[in-house]
Structure formats: C-alpha cells, structure tokens
C-alpha cells in the first residue's frame, strides 16, 4: 500500500500551499490499515513521539520532509487500538511536550488528558452516545457526616428512569463516580443499557474522594465509611436489595483497589465487583518501585495474594494492554478465579484512561447486573 505521506515525501517540490492542501480535511494521525503516520507541522529542530505503550521504547524521532516544516513518523499500530501520546518538540534548546495540534481526539486519565490515536476499526461505542429513545435517569445529592473519615461526605445518587419506591433495586457504589459521569459518560451509558434491557435498573452511588490516593489506597477508614455509613443511609432512603447479588462496587485505577479492598474487608457483603485497570501493585521481593502512595496498596495486595479469598460472587476485571498495570491485573485474575469467584477478565488495546473504562462498561455491567434483554419487547 502506498501511504498518503509518500505524496509529499516524493514530491519534487513542496510548497506550503501543497502542504496546506494535503492537511486540509485530513484526519491526523493518518490511519491506513495498521500503519499510522503521525504528523507535526511547525518550526522545530527535532520532534519525538512520546507514547504511553508500556514495554515499547518511547521518544521515536520524526523525520522532516526536506525543504519544509512538515515532520512525520510512521508506526505500526494494531487495529482497534487507542494509543495515548504527546509530541516532544525541540527548538533552540527548549523542549515542549504538547498535545498533537492536528488531532482533537483526547484520552482522559485521572491526572489529565493526552492526545489519542485511534487505530483502524476503532469507533466510539454507539451505546455511549445519547439515545433519543432511552428514557433518562436522574441524579440527586445525598450528604452525610462521615465519622470514619472525619469529614462531610457527598454522594451523587443515580436513579434509573421510571424509578419506583415500591420496587427493589440493586446498588452499585462507584468510586470516582463524578469522573465516571464526566469522562466515561456513565449516566448516558446507564440510561441506554437499562433502556435496552441489557442492564437491570439499578441505583448507583457515585462517590468522589478529595484525597483518593490516600482514601482509595486500601484504607480501612474508607471501607468503614462505605459499609457502616454510606450503604445504611442509602438503604434507609432507597428501596435497595438486601442480598449480596444486589450489591456491587466499582472503580478504576486506585478506585478499583478501593472496591476490592472494601469487598475484602466485608466478604460476601458485595456480590458484584467491577475492577478496571486496578492499581494492584504487589512485590514478590523487596520494595515496590512505584512510590510511597502505593505502599498500603502493596501491603494489601501482597496479603491478598498470600491468602486469596472469596470476597464476592462475580467479578469483572478489565485492563488495557498498553498500561504498565497489565502485569498486575493479569496476575490478579487467576487469583480471583482460584478463590471460587466467577471472574470475567477482559483486555483491550488501550491505555489507562476513562475512554477505555467507558468502552468496557457494557460488557462489565451486563455481566454483573444482567437486564431482561431477552424477555423484553416494549
């Protein structure tokens, strides 16, 4: 296949106008099958690709097309991939790490956003877009004083469309819940999947910690807040299922650690776990290289690895293959299985970001809380 960039590379003369025409209306990076051409235009002494693919060397250099300010780099990217990246632009001894100015697509993670290259055949899931046919659920606040955490706790509660106080609903506690709403379109996803019967109507408690790196890091105070303070208040206010199959915990990154930790502190109380790209750091020998924030996590995960136990009935675990955490998650899945839980483990050609977590919600939620899809024809 002749790549589009060859038109320019092989052109005898390359005017700025020709480059303008080449770029006009063209989606960048240029995806041609599994080959992707990254493009940068502007004054620079050197340009490098900084990507977030764990295991591959980063900072690949771009080539400049002679006589122009156009830089390019050709890479092989597997189909259906999403690869996070930034451009490192060097000019007169100044190095800038920037998002790709020619690409508006972003991947959001708990710390910010990067440019993202969407490989061939990747498409945003249609079930994450607002569906005019789907009835909309509502969200409302629930505030209480947490003695466990020594502060006021504010929870946002999602109620499914046509919520009825006379019916009983499963409860799902979502760590980083507001971020899930913002970056993973959780409310739209719930509205759509519930409307389609793929997921049972459920109540979701969206918690957002102001100190997630501490409170989500296997912190017993957080577990007490969830189990002894939040869930009882929710059960008091809403008609919630009282069995483990009707209670779930979810989270991504440190939020997944919090979810597993709460479940492990109260085995069989929560029957459903959705763990996305969990920061399940552990060590076989010596200290963890991941830094002090991970110390309590390492202690918890090491303990769990030593004595794996059945903490729930059904667990959905997902992770991106481009994440450094893929090793930890691959290691965790068989442990969970061995302890007698029904585990669904899914990998995606993606990174540590909210869109990856969004894209796995349909499979995860419908596995944990299946709806009446096969029976319902409205």
């Amino acid at each position: 296949m002749t790549l589009a960039i060859r038109e320019l590379v092989e052109a005898p003369e390359l005017s700025p106008r020709r480059i303008d025409e080449f770029l006009a209306g063209r989606k960048c990076p240029i995806v041609e099958g599994s080959t992707v051409t990254f493009v940068y235009r502007g004054p620079a002494d050197a340009v490098f690709l900084q990507h977030w693919i764990y295991g591959l060397p980063s900072a690949q250099p771009f080539s400049r097309i002679d006589g122009s300010d156009l830089w390019y780099l050709i890479q092989e990217i597997p189909v259906r991939s999403r690869v996070e990246y930034k451009l490192e632009v060097e000019q007169q001894d100044v190095v800038r790490l920037i998002r790709d100015p020619l690409n508006q697509e972003l991947a959001h993670d708990p710390f910010g956003a990067n440019s993202v290259c969407q490989g061939a055949e990747y498409a945003d899931p249609e079930w994450a877009d607002p569906d005019p046919e789907a009835r909309r659920g509502t969200v409302e606040p629930l505030a209480f004083r947490s003695r466990a955490l020594g502060r006021d706790e504010e929870v946002t509660v999602y109620l499914p469309a046509r919520f009825r106080p006379t019916r009983t609903y499963p409860l799902l506690v979502a760590h980083d819940g507001i971020d899930y709403l913002r970056f993973s379109r959780l409310q739209t996803v719930l509205d759509n999947l519930i409307h389609r019967g793929e997921v049972a109507p459920l109540v979701v408690a969206l918690t957002q910690s102001p100190a997630r790196l501490r409170e989500y890091a296997a912190d017993d105070r957080h577990a007490r807040m969830v189990v002894e303070e939040m869930v009882p208040r929710l059960e008091e206010k809403y008609p919630l299922a009282k069995d483990a199959a009707g209670r779930g915990l979810m989270g991504a990154s440190f939020g997944a650690v919090a979810a597993l930790h709460v479940a492990a502190r109260h085995p069989e109380l929560f029957g459903r776990l959705l763990l996305q790209s969990g920061s399940f750091a552990f060590t076989d020998i010596g200290p963890s290289p991941r830094g002090p924030a991970f110390e309590p996590v390492v202690e918890f995960v090491n303990g769990f690895r030593e004595k794996p136990m059945r903490v729930a009935e059904r667990v959905f675990v997902s992770c991106g293959v481009y994440e450094s955490l893929i090793y930890e998650n691959r290691s965790l899945a068989p442990l969970l299985q061995k302890s007698g839980m029904e585990v669904r483990y899914v990998e995606a050609w993606d990174g540590h970001n909210w869109e990856n977590w969004r894209d796995r919600l349909r499979e995860g939620l419908s596995f944990l809380f299946p709806g009446p899809l096969w029976m319902f024809y409205e």
Binding site: E133, R162, R164, T166, R167, L193, E198, R362, E363, S366, F367, P370, P372, L373, W374, M375, F376, Y377, E378
Partner: protein
C-alpha cells in the same frame, strides 16, 4: 377467530388507533398491559390514544393478588417457573451446538450436491430441537394444570369472573408489549384466549409474540453471549403461520445473510416477520388480509416487504 392485528412497537409511532378504526371496531376495548409489570396501571397514553375507550384488565395486579392470597398456588407456580428455567438452560446448552453446526453449514461453500442435504438436515435438527423443547414445556404446564387446577381455586375464580364481566362490555382487546414471559403467563393464568371470544385482538411487540403459536426470543448483538434465538414456549395461538419479531431493526442483524437464512429456515413453514415502527398485519379468520410495513425474513438470506394476496 375473527380479526387479529399484529403491530410493531407503539411508543414512537402509534398506529393502534388507526388499526382499530380499520377493523371497524367501535366501542370500548379491554387492554392488557401486564408485560409492563408493576407499571401496569400507567396506561394513560394508551387510554388517550384510543379515545379514552380502554378498560385495563389489570392482569398483573390480579395475579399478584392471587399469589398473595393463595399461598399453595403461588408455591406451585414458583416451582413450575423454576423447572421451566432449568429446562430452558438445558435446551440452551443443546441449542448452542446444534445452531453452531447449522450456521456453519448455512455459510459453507462447496459442492452443493454434497452440501445441500447436510445443510437441510442441520436446519431440521434445529427445528426438531425447538419442537422437542416446546413439547417438554407443554408437558410441565399440563402437569401443573392437572395437579393444581388453577381455575377451580376460589381466589382465581373470583378474578376470572370479574374479567369476564369486563370483557362482556368491550368490543375488542388490546395487548401491549413488555416482558413477554410474564405477559404470556398472566394471559394464560386468566384464560384470556378462551374468554376473548370472537372479539378483535390488537397486539404489539411482546403482545404480538404472545398471540402467535410460538414465542421466539432473539437478539443478534447481546452484550453477553453470541445471540442465538431460542424458543421460549408456545404462544396463545390466536394466529398461525407466523413468528413475530418486533424491534427487528434494532435487535437483528438483518444484513447478515447467514443469520437471516437460519432464522427464516428454522421456523418454516411459519414466516419469520419483522415488525418495526409503523408496521402491522391484519388477519381475518386466520388468513392474512392486509399488511403495511412488515418485512419477511427469507430463506435466501434476504429481507423483503411482506405482501398478502
């Protein structure tokens, strides 16, 4: 049976009023919204659409009352449902392998002289399995009826009499969609098929599925599993010769020739019919008389507008 009209989903493109008028039905209509379960009574939109002429038979609420007051019947009902669930799971297990074989042969290419008889037999194996399942379900239902004789039980009898009184005053019956198993169960529990007499019946979505001879559950792109259509149980059989597939555009991969072929061939000689928004099919005395917008899945893997002679 006089007039039966099967319709597509009514939520966004209500055509029920037009169908009722076309059938020349004047006067009040009994409605069944039991498929909506606890929202059964929230039928204002339907009531207004039909010119405030509906009387809801409240089959879901009546069944709840029966189960609450007749604990023995409730227990027996639960036991039967559990048996049916187990049986469905066993059938599903066999279905996976049988359907997989049929699907592969439908899509296989090669020497047709060798392939065609194998393909035919694989499809027939699927049909035989469906038929076997229907017989097993019917046997469980028959055993339940024989042992517990629900209609002879006082609480149920009281409700049946009340329903009969309601039906005496109406000119037709409208059956809405929703949860097809619950809808069908409630229709059966109160013997609606035998009580509706010759009155016209208008049924949409799950309602349309329930009044056919067999109920087929389907979804080609579910979030879990590969989406193999399965027979649930026999329907009320108010119309014959068709398998109703509502919301087909959303639930079926109609451009997948292999899937379409298999779905169409498996239920032959019945016609697999796609009912989407705005579509309807009118039967008079068991014969298809008029149609609009209904698509038929064809054995060749295509989908074509249904026509009636």
């Amino acid at each position: 049976m006089g007039i039966v009209v099967l319709l597509g989903p009514q939520r966004f493109t209500p055509t029920l009023g037009e169908a009722v008028a076309r059938a020349g039905v004047e006067g009040r209509l009994a409605s069944v919204t039991a498929g909506w379960q606890e929202r059964e009574a929230e039928d204002l939109e339907l009531h207004e659409h039909l010119g405030e002429r509906t009387v809801n038979l409240m089959l879901y609420a009546r069944a709840e009352d029966v189960f609450e007051k007749d604990a023995e019947l409730f227990r027996a009902h639960r036991e039967r449902q559990e048996k049916l669930r187990t049986l469905q799971a066993l059938y599903r297990r066999r279905l996976a392998a049988t359907r997989d074989a049929a699907r592969r042969l439908v899509e296989a290419q090669g020497d047709e002289a060798l392939l065609a008889p194998e393909r035919e037999d694989a499809i027939r194996a699927l049909s035989r399995l469906d038929a076997h399942h229907l017989r097993r379900v019917a046997a469980i239902d028959a055993e339940f009826e024989k042992r517990w004789r629900p209609e002879g039980r006082p609480v149920l009898r009281r409700h049946v009499r009340a329903i009969e009184r309601q039906l005496e005053k109406v000119a037709g019956l409208a059956i809405a969609g929703g949860h097809v198993a619950i809808l069908l169960n409630r229709l059966r529990l109160f013997g609606i098929a035998s009580r509706v007499g010759g009155r016209p019946v208008f049924a949409w979505s799950a309602g349309a599925m329930a009044v056919c001879e067999r109920v087929v559950l389907f979804h080609d792109n579910p979030p879990q599993g590969e989406g193999a259509p399965e027979v649930l149980q026999a329907g009320l059989g108010l119309v014959g010769g068709v398998v109703a597939l509502p919301h087909a555009k959303r639930r079926l991969a109609l451009d997948d020739r292999g899937r379409v072929t298999l779905l169409a061939r498996r239920f032959e000689p019945d016609a697999a019919l796609a009912f989407d928004d705005g579509s309807w099919l009118l039967f008079r005395d068991g014969r298809r008389e008029a149609v609009s917008g209904v698509q038929q899945l064809l054995g060749a893997g295509e989908v074509a507008a249904l026509e009636v002679a």
